[in-house]
Structure formats: structure tokens, C-alpha cells
């Protein structure tokens, strides 16, 4: 038993390095996708202190809108533009109808409001597009579909899906773009000011309402990118919403307010989950992927309660 736990997995890793590399790659891709969802959470949490549970359903909603429009005869790129517009309308609507009346309420109330929003979007999405899983329009959008097999060692093969590589590249580009947006533009600076202190930001003439709409729109764009990437790997369906819960351990690992934290946390969870499942999962009957991420996050939290990159919490009486 002890041998199975402590020695055998490592022997396997050493003897079949190609399989190990494949597992690492899978973990990397899963981690990138978790990180993308987590990124949407972080954007909104930073600017408004709202823990946006609806991010998962926004991913599904964006993907469904894109595919649904295309199915009804709208050309792919036009559908993409229209989806972006739809996310903009959603962002404005959320800010106007949900967030503005709830300013200054306790965290838990805002959290519940976003869960209410989740229910609403689930109902709305199913009402408009139907509940069946849909095929993502990967080719129409000009995304690569094939795969490359890289020879490794004497007889090993590592298979890389092109769409995964594209996902990684897009994720990196998006983080870079967000970094520039936050640090170099006027709106980005206003966003950071709002994140630091709502009242101080208001007093120097920054419009909170406008900033929140922008943040929700940015989160919507991130959701759209995530929806496309994830939809290309599997189908676009409401099951994705459950996967979005995986972004939560990523968040607490990285800290709620840190963009690099979201990325690093995503990668840790992605790697840990795949390696754990494939090398140790068999010992307890498999399927440990569903909770391993939370346990990893829990263990990290016991040592750093504010996450890896979170701001230190100082409590005073």
C-alpha cells in the first residue's frame, strides 16, 4: 500500500516520460482554462468587491450566443462581433439593474445577487437557445483544429492539439493586454483607483457606474474567449457551469485580487489535478478530479489564509 502511494507513481513517471509529459501538457491546458475563468472573477472582484458567481454562466452564455447566431445563418465573424455587443449590453444591464441599487451592501448579499443572476441567465439561455449541447464553430472562426505529435525519446509520442496551443497563446495575449490596459491607460488607472478605495475614487471625479460597466464588459470578453476555447475542446453546454466552480479553488490559491495569482493558481490546480488523477486516482477508485482541486487549495489556505498573491489581511478590533 505504502509502495503504491509513495514509490510506484514516481517509478511510472520515470519509466514512461512521454506519458508524464502528456499529462503535464493536459494539466497545463486545463490550468490555462481555469485561469481564464478565474481572471473574469478577479477583474470584477478587484473593481467592485463583488464575488461574481455568474462568471461561469457568462462563459456558457457567450459561447451559446456565438454558436446560436451562427446556426441561424449569421457569418462567423459577424456573429463574434454581435456576441461582443451582447456582452456589452449584458454588462450595462447588470450594472444598471443589479449592481447600482445594491451599492454598499454586505458581501454576502452581492454574492447572492450574482447567484440570482446565474439562475436568470441559465433560464434565459435555455429559453433562447435550447438546452442541448452545441458544437463550437472552431473552423469558421479560423482557429486551428489538427494536432501535432512530437516524438520524444526512443518510442514515445506527445500529442499536442493545435487548439490547445492556440488557447495558451490567446490566454497569454489576453493577460498581457489586460496588464497594459490596467497599467498604461486612463481607464485602467481609474479602475485601479476604484479597486483601492471607492470613496477616494469618487472624490477625484471617477464615475463608479461607468467603471463597473466597463469591468463587467471586460469580464464578459474574457468569458467569451474562455467559452470559445473550452467549447472547442468539448461542447458548449450548461455542464460547463459546473466546471466553472473549479475556478474557485484557483482563486483562493492565487488570492482574489491578483491577476498573476489567477494564472499561477490555475496552473497549480491544473497540474496537480491531472497528475493526482492519473497517478494516484486509481488507488481510491478514480474520479478524484472532482474534489482534489479544493483539497489542494484548502491545504494552501491553512498556511496562507489570503492566498499566494493576496493582500495581507490586517484585522483590528
Amino acid at each position: 500500500m505504502l509502495y503504491d502511494i509513495f514509490i510506484d507513481p514516481f517509478v511510472q513517471m520515470y519509466e514512461m516520460p512521454d506519458f508524464f509529459l502528456q499529462v503535464l501538457w493536459e494539466g497545463f491546458v486545463a490550468g490555462i482554462l481555469y485561469a481564464l475563468i478565474a481572471l473574469g472573477f478577479v477583474l470584477i472582484f478587484k473593481a467592485s468587491g463583488v464575488f461574481n458567481f455568474a462568471q461561469g454562466i457568462m462563459v456558457v452564455f457567450a459561447g451559446l450566443t456565438l454558436v446560436g447566431l451562427n446556426e441561424n445563418g449569421v457569418p462567423a465573424y459577424l456573429a463574434l462581433a454581435l456576441t461582443i455587443a451582447a456582452m456589452g449590453i449584458l454588462a450595462y444591464g447588470v450594472e444598471r439593474v443589479v449592481m447600482r441599487p445594491l451599492v454598499n451592501q454586505p458581501d454576502i448579499i452581492l454574492l447572492m445577487a450574482t447567484i440570482g443572476l446565474t439562475y436568470f441567465l441559465i433560464g434565459f439561455g435555455e429559453f433562447v437557445f435550447g438546452g442541448e449541447p452545441k458544437q463550437m464553430i472552431t473552423e469558421e472562426l479560423g482557429l486551428p483544429t489538427g494536432s501535432t505529435a512530437i516524438e520524444f525519446g526512443e518510442r514515445g509520442l506527445v500529442i499536442l492539439q493545435h487548439i490547445d496551443i492556440a488557447a495558451a497563446v490567446i490566454a497569454v495575449l489576453m493577460v498581457a493586454a489586460l496588464g497594459i490596459f490596467f497599467n498604461k491607460t486612463r481607464i485602467g488607472r481609474a479602475l485601479r483607483a476604484v479597486a483601492d478605495d471607492h470613496q477616494a475614487a469618487l472624490s477625484v471625479g471617477i464615475s463608479l457606474n461607468q467603471i463597473w460597466a466597463i469591468v463587467w464588459f471586460a469580464a464578459g470578453l474574457v468569458a467569451l474567449a474562455t467559452g470559445i476555447m473550452w467549447g472547442a475542446r468539448s461542447d458548449v453546454s450548461f455542464a460547463l457551469e459546473i466546471v466553472a466552480f473549479k475556478a474557485l479553488p484557483v482563486l483562493i490559491l492565487g488570492g482574489f485580487t491578483s491577476i498573476p495569482g489567477a494564472i499561477v493558481g490555475g496552473l497549480i490546480i491544473g497540474f496537480g489535478e491531472k497528475i493526482g488523477e492519473l497517478y494516484w486516482g486509481g488507488l481510491v477508485g478514480g474520479g478524484i478530479e472532482s474534489w482534489l482541486a479544493y483539497i489542494i487549495a484548502l491545504i494552501f489556505l491553512l498556511f496562507r489564509p489570503q492566498g499566494l498573491f493576496g493582500e495581507r489581511i490586517i484585522e483590528r478590533v
Binding site: 441567465l121 438546452g131 474520479g287
Partner: protein, 358 residues
Amino acid sequence: MFYREAGQFKTSYKADQALMPILQDRVGLLVILAVAFVVIPVFANDFFLTSIMIPFLVFSLAAIGLNVLTGFCGQLSLGTGAFMGVGAYAAYKLTSIFPDANVILMVLLSGVFSAAIGAVFGLPSLRIKGLYLAVTTLAAQFFLEWCFIRIPWLYNYNASGAIEIPHREAFGVVVSGAEATPIVRYFIVLGITALIAYLMANVLRGRIGRSWMMIRDMDIAAELMGIRPLQTKLMAFAVSSYICGVAGAMMVFFWLNAAEPSSYSISLSFQILFMVILGGLGSLSGAFMGAAFIWILPVFLKFIPGTIGINVAAETVEHITFMIVGALIIFFLIVEPHGFARLWQIAKQKLRVWPFPY
């Protein structure tokens, strides 16, 4: 005018510290109890009992359980569904191991198991707070759900992977299994819910409940005043999980008859959390009001298209129900973030001063 306590003098400490010092409250409670114990059993049909009253009572109890933890002790939890599941599986195992024992006793005993597991998952709450804690309770949710699927011993190696409630008798009547009549089930569920609600009403205004509220309001200050955070928080987790466990066991024994692991999924946790928040954090009556709203409203919505003569597909109705429930949740949060309990208090104040505005 209608709700005026003027003239009701107390002549002893006992009367002053009674659970309900105001006469109108006592009368109101008696009326509600009379309706629940006499009027509904006499007049209600089986459909009303099985698909409205029994689930409503079960969810009310679960909401009371979560309210103890979230409303009174301030620890946000998203693992309620799993703790209910622990109760259900524990009761199922207990009654398969001891087939001759009284099944109601087994249901009450099953809460002990979920209390123990709840206390274990409550341990991180000593270091982790707020939303971070909410996410760690998700660990409990997903881990326990996985256990329900992967440990076949829990469901007696059934091929279907679900638990099916066996035929059991107590006090000479069939109380569980497919033959049990709705009226018997209703009385058992009502009895247990009323009993636990009564006990909690007293616990919450006593020393234990007050120490929970101190931890909720400011934990460091509470610690300085001699409240031990470890015991207090773990007790809140244990008591809350006990109540949720009993509710979960009742859910399968007296309502569903059979349960799969997916019956106790995360969506159940959210449903209970909604009941607590909409009903009002830190209010027992709020738990009942929240459960009534979240459970009865969708049932009600399902019948609207049929009664006004529009023919809509069942799926569409379900989707629209989702939309309406989501929208109403946001609406009520905006109108009154403190829930129905606060609305009821405002209404009582209006009644007190009626016909004058103040």
C-alpha cells in the same frame, strides 16, 4: 392597534423572559400550530401534502440548520447539500443494520454522523474567514458527493447506485417505504421540524446562541471577552450539520423514497442558501418564509399556464421559472436585503401604530 402590547404587565421574571412575551405572538403561533396539526391534515389532499407541505417542512428544517451556521455564527457555507446527504446515507445504513429499530429514532440519530463530519470540515474556519471559507466548504461538498458515488458500502452495493428506502413500521403504522401514507409522513416531518425549531429557538437565545452571535459580530472582541472561538465555531458547525443531516434523512425517508448522489448536489446547497438569505439571516421564522417562497413559488408557476389556458411546453415553463426565480431573488435583495423576516417586522410595526403613520 391590532398588535399592541400596552397593558400586558409581567409580574415575574419567568413571564418576562418567556419565549413569546407578547400575547398576540402566542395566539398567532397557536393558530399556526392548529392549522398545521389539525386543519391541513383534515382538509388537504395527498398531492398537497406530498408535493408542497412535506418538502416545505424538510427545506425549512435545512434552512434552520444553515441559518444557525451562516445567520447566527457568521460562517458562510456552501456544503449544506452534502451534509444533508451524510444524514440521509447514515440513516439508510443505520436502518439496514438495525432493521427492527424505530426508523424515526434512526433519522434523529443520523444527524450525529453529519454533525461529526461537519465539525471536521469546520476546522479550517479557525484560520479562514468569509468568502475564502465558503470556497473551502465546497471541498466538503464535492468530496462527500464523490464518497456517495464511489463507496458502494454506503448504498448497500445496489446496482443502481441509489438508496431505496425499505418498508419500516413504527408504533403499528407504516412510516417509510412506498406504502407509507402521506398523512403519516406529514405528521412525522411536522413533529420533528416543530420539535427542532422549538429547541433551537431556546438554544439561540441562551448562552450558546449568544456566544455564536458574538463570534459573528466581531470574533476578536468575542475572544477578548472570554468566548473560545474553537469550541464555539465547531459547535455551530456541529449543530448546523446535525439539523441539516436530520433534514436530509427526512428528505429521502419521508418524501423522495429514493435518492441518488445527485439529489444532494451543489444546487441543493444553493437552494438552501437562497432560502436563508431571502428569509432573513439570523431569523428562525425567516427560514420558514424563505423555504415557502423558494419551494412553493416554482410549483405555483408550473400551474399558471394550464389554468389560464395557454399551452406551453413543460421545458419552456421550466426555463421561464428559472428566469422568474432569478429575477425575483435579485428584486427582493434590492428591496429588502435583510429578507422576509425584516419585512414582517416592518409590517408588525405598521400594525402597532395603525391607523397613524407613526
